[in-house]
């Protein structure tokens, strides 16, 4: 049983070897078949692991037989199990989509599998240095994947990501240095034991924690650290955008989640409440201003991570479950949306919103999948986004200002998706399009339909899902689960849609267009972005110092 945990990391690596020898065996599509097979085997292994995890056991594994303080160990608890499942599902459909595109060579699948292995490692690892190593593995793989098509813009985006993220990983390493020097432990279990004995009042430990938070925060992309994301996600190949937006930022955020709860840093958790509110609001404002369809979705990833961070910042068990629920839903509907837009771009070769139109009749499958994703991200019942957003707003009942920002972001989300849906419903564009066939391969259609079904399934019985998540994430802490379909929430949703539609009418008028152009013109260069990361780091240190001295209570 215990061997299965390490196999989840090893099987993608073994499969990646077969992708490399693909070139010696032509006409077999070995790389594609092997990589999909590897994800399927990993999912089967996860299914086998389900009963003990559901009972609440932790399945551990020590590499090389060296036990915890000496060796490398992997732990799988409910939290890791469910994030592992999420990444496997999204990766599977992204791989099927990539296979349908037929543009990628075997090296693409090789790097993709290394990426998956690194991500599984981050979720499963039992000590903080190996978390660093796995983070570097999956980020190096993601730099290569973003730049894979060799377009200048994607290479530039990848280079920016590389510099900013290496700076962040440097901070992470600094955190490891401080932690090891101060306490002499690196394994997560030892840190937990230490914290439960001594409590978290030490400034040096807080410094280490902030190094970790800022370092990983660059990959999780909440607002002052988000600058690399829109370009990188927008100019990557479509399946890569799907997994980057769908799971890479989630896995990074879950690592932050684990570390903060481990350090029992509840003050910093409350800072996240405000960080999340601004992330959700500012992200969606930039999103509505975009005219590039993939960039719009990329900014939405930032905004949605804001929703998740807000709910995490509240910190009560219900809010944590709601946060995880939204994270899970967002992984599915955002990858669905990216794949939809990807198949539109695949069929038409056009990514500008205003130059596309009236695709509803020509690409019905894509239209219906897009509709599912759009209704889910806007939070319309009975799709999955509604349930998690309702739970987030219920858990925010003691923070009215934050709730106001979140509600505002939901309104603008509706507006921006009305704008994006113009490519399906609007007027056909005037450019010559006779040579375009609008046909997409069956495998592409398969992954779209399957992801839509998952979106529907996770939305239908919110009570059941939140109970399950409660078992896995927080360990059965909830007594009562508030009802999601209350009158209050339904009225709020109706109000949200109405206001969103009104705002949509505004942005189509000429002053609205001028405003959007103004927002779109706002841009930070690479130098300023790096400066912003450093300044954020300093601000976080200052905040933590103020909190530690007791000047301000959160």
């Amino acid at each position: 049983m215990n061997n299965l945990v390490i196999l989840i990391v090893i099987i993608p690596l073994i499969a990646s070897f077969f992708c490399l020898i693909d070139k010696y065996i032509p006409h077999l599509q070995l790389a594609q078949i092997v990589s999909i097979g590897a994800t399927l085997i990993c999912m089967a292994l996860l299914a086998v692991l389900f009963p003990p995890i559901f009972r609440g056991d932790v399945v551990s594994y020590s590499v090389g037989g060296w036990k915890e303080p000496l060796g490398i160990s992997l732990h799988m608890d409910g939290f890791a199990w469910i994030s592992s499942c999420m990444s496997m599902v999204v990766a599977l459909f992204a791989l099927i989509f990539a296979w349908a595109e037929k543009e990628h060579g075997n090296l693409f699948y090789f790097v993709f599998l290394i990426f998956i292995a690194g991500m599984q490692g981050v979720t499963l690892t039992g000590d903080i240095f190996n978390m660093f190593v796995f983070f570097e593995i999956f980020s190096i793989a993601s730099y290569i994947l973003i730049a894979y098509e060799g377009k200048t813009k994607s290479i530039l985006a990848s280079f920016n990501y590389l510099l900013i993220s290496s700076l962040g990983m440097g901070f992470f390493l600094l955190g490891i240095v401080i932690l090891y020097q101060h306490t002499g432990v690196l394994s997560l279990n030892d840190i937990a034991n230490l914290m439960s004995k001594a409590g978290n009042s030490d400034f040096t430990l807080n410094l280490a924690l902030i190094c970790f938070v800022v370092g990983i925060g660059i990959k999780a992309a909440f607002i002052p650290l988000h600058i690399w994301l829109p370009d990188a996600h927008a100019f990557a190949p479509h399946p890569v955008s799907a997994i980057l937006s769908g799971i890479a930022i989630k896995v990074s955020f879950l690592a932050i989640w684990r570390i903060i709860l481990l350090f029992q840093a509840f003050d910093i958790e409350h800072i996240f409440l405000w960080v999340g509110a601004f992330t959700a609001f500012l992200g969606v404002i930039w999103a509505v201003a975009q005219v590039d369809s993939k960039k719009l979705l990329a900014y939405h990833s930032i905004s949605q991570i804001g929703f998740i961070v807000v709910s995490f910042g509240v910190g009560r068990p219900l809010a944590l479950d709601a946060s995880y629920y939204h994270l899970l839903n967002h992984a599915f509907f955002k990858s669905l949306l990216f794949l939809c837009i990807g198949s539109v771009i695949y069929a038409t070769g056009q990514r500008h919103i205003h130059k596309l139109g009236a695709l509803r009749k020509k690409m019905p499958t894509v239209f219906f999948s897009f509709l599912v994703g759009m209704l889910a991200i806007c939070g319309i019942p009975p799709f999955d986004g509604y349930a998690s957003k309702a739970l987030i707003s219920i858990s925010l009942n003691k923070h009215p200002v934050v709730y106001f920002f979140i509600f505002l972001s939901s309104i603008i989300t509706v507006t921006s998706f009305l704008k994006l849906s113009g490519i399906f419903t609007g007027k056909p564009n005037k450019e010559k399009t006779s040579f375009i066939s609008y046909k997409i391969p069956a495998k592409m259609r398969l992954s779209l339909v399957a992801l839509s079904i998952i979106c529907l399934a996770t939305g239908i019985a919110p009570h059941f899902w939140i109970r399950t998540l409660d078992t896995f994430v927080t360990g059965r802490k909830l007594d009562i689960i508030p009802t999601v379909y209350s009158l209050h929430q339904l009225v709020a949703t109706l109000l949200m849609v109405g206001l969103g539609f009104a705002l949509y009418l505004f942005i189509r008028s000429s002053p609205g267009k001028k405003t959007l152009r103004f927002i779109r013109g706002f841009r930070l260069g690479l130098n300023n972005s790096i400066l912003l990361v450093v300044v954020t780091f300093l601000i976080f240190i200052l905040l933590s110092w103020i909190v530690a001295k007791g000047f301000v209570q959160f």
């Binding site: 813009k153 510099l163 290496s166 490891i176 240095v177 690479l526 450093v534």
Partner: protein, 112 residues
Amino acid sequence: MIAGYLIIGLFILGIWGMVKKDNLIKKVIALNIFNSSIVIFFIYLGSRTGSTAPIMERGIKDIVDPLPQALMLTAIVIGISLTALALSFIIKIYRRHKTLSIYKIQKKSEHE
């Protein structure tokens, strides 16, 4: 103690180079300096625990903590692969834009 401050100076030098330098290759050089400073920091702190290199032989006592060295070896390995990747990106960017100045590159790519 002075060594600690000097290492912090090196750290700040690396960050300053990454923020301020306009040339892409200079940015990668600054990244290298930044990474080296953290490696030196850890090795320096670890070296204060003993007086002999951690190589097992008979009769050797008072070795330094070997863990920081093992960890920093990994960091160096990661650093070289990042450098190689960044430099290959730089060659590709240069071929398109015919300049290494990030300011000019951003200006050019905005007009596309």
